[in-house]
Symmetry: C2
Subunit: 326 residues, 2 copies
Amino acid sequence: MEKMTQKAPDEFEFLRGITAKYGLTKIGDDCAILPKDGDSDLVITADLLVQNIDFKLEWTSAEMLGHKALAVSLSDIAATGASSRYALLSIAVSQGFWASDLLDGFYEGWHKLAKIHGVELVGGDLSRIDEGLVIDSVVIGEVPKGKAVRRSGAKPGDGIYVSDNLGSAAAGLRLLERGYRMSETTDRKVADLLKAQLAPVPRADLGVRLREADLATSMVDLSDGLSSDLAHICDASGVGARIFADRIPIGPELGSLFTDSDELLALALNGGEDFELLFTASSEKKSSPELDGLFNIGEITANVGVIEIISDKGAEVLPRKGYRHF
Amino acid sequence: MEKMTQKAPDEFEFLRGITAKYGLTKIGDDCAILPKDGDSDLVITADLLVQNIDFKLEWTSAEMLGHKALAVSLSDIAATGASSRYALLSIAVSQGFWASDLLDGFYEGWHKLAKIHGVELVGGDLSRIDEGLVIDSVVIGEVPKGKAVRRSGAKPGDGIYVSDNLGSAAAGLRLLERGYRMSETTDRKVADLLKAQLAPVPRADLGVRLREADLATSMVDLSDGLSSDLAHICDASGVGARIFADRIPIGPELGSLFTDSDELLALALNGGEDFELLFTASSEKKSSPELDGLFNIGEITANVGVIEIISDKGAEVLPRKGYRHF
């Protein structure tokens, strides 16, 4: 019999395979939720940042890289409604970078953000690597027992919300690719988009507030991109979704620099790395003051696994086009 | 004024600098110790394994690499007297390795060891990297409140103990460098040394037993090498040490393959990666049955920061020659 040529699985398929094969029960959310004591659970997340894949040193400063390494993990913790407490940093670094002041700047940027969020560095590891820089950022947070928000709680009829403008980080990446850099003299609109990519602001307070108000039935942070991250909620919750193109918030600086409306929408739908929160809330709570200033972009449906987008072209099925490593 | 050319700090100096600069209170032990509940503390450790620095794929199998990635972290947890519970695995992997069955074997070896130790994989991350393989292994353990064994509790007069033969892992590394490989037909003595290097056995039960018996006043696992790891205990405890060359246990398979006695002793003193436990115990407890079968290699002294080795050549100061990345 002829051997079939098999395509390697994508990362999500691979992780589903490992999870099923070894009977893992705590995999599949942004964070693992572990029992702490009678009052609290711990949530823990790990994020790899690999040079030339997740960042380029020609594009960022050591300080901004340190900031981002922590920010991406704080964002995961925020998406569960937990408060970040402790962190570990494992860094593999080449001899050349070791002899430079790269790590000093990195730790400076990291600690500046850590101080704002009351996070303490408690461990990690340092290793040499032949070339480049690899960072693994681990953050541990705490949340009242049983209250961590998961991906899996969305119900048909729930409203779908995002916390702020989308696409800015992806637009910043495009600008970096076109040669724009962050400096004292960078045009403010350009700088805002570059900053969205290089030094994102995790929505830590908002995540806690939404959990305290018992508003979010499901939540993730927008790291892969709306089309992908909303699919994660739909998969985990066993539901579908309908979103409206004209309700997706896009910042004015983005609109003034990218004028093609299809490109703009694609940046917002598939861009990723905005690190805004995407969550669902029961329609009964749609008048809650906690939702003021947030953006209702659609609703959860019973059409399992299907995400529709409604625009002036009518209704279309939204393909998952978020970032994948493999 | 002429600018001084400064040598980059070694990794221990660098970490001491970061710890002091940012007022970190939980850095410096094998594991960070975090409060859990009224009865327990959590201990957490992270270990990077970088291709060509910490392992070579030409020398090991994917299964043995998975085993070792977990074993090194279980060993850190054991050195605090805690029981390992949860793990996170972050893996940066090249496109080529992704398309191979490397990760399947890796997870297979990892889970086989995890099952023995009751450890559950709860999270981590996967990323692409231009070339090679980088693994960050994070393990979380649990220990009765206030009972985690640290590096800092050694007192002058305490006996110094190691849990088993030293130098085998370093000898295995030498054999790999000379072209020996693990196979069905490998000579048993050679295979034992290769296995000590490629698939070390963490002393998890012993670490817990020593803590339960309230025996260890300080403890570390032998990852960097005896001369370096004993210095870590002396630094943290503010003491010195005297060890006896003829009491350092060396396995018969090692003695039969490496016949130069200076080389043998150097392997045992500086080799590293044996993942045996090194601990101190009060002299009042030297007859404890829990110490049966373990090796008393010397004693803690008040000669702060100085480690002496006594051999038939007399007393000499032992330099720190364990493994350093930088």
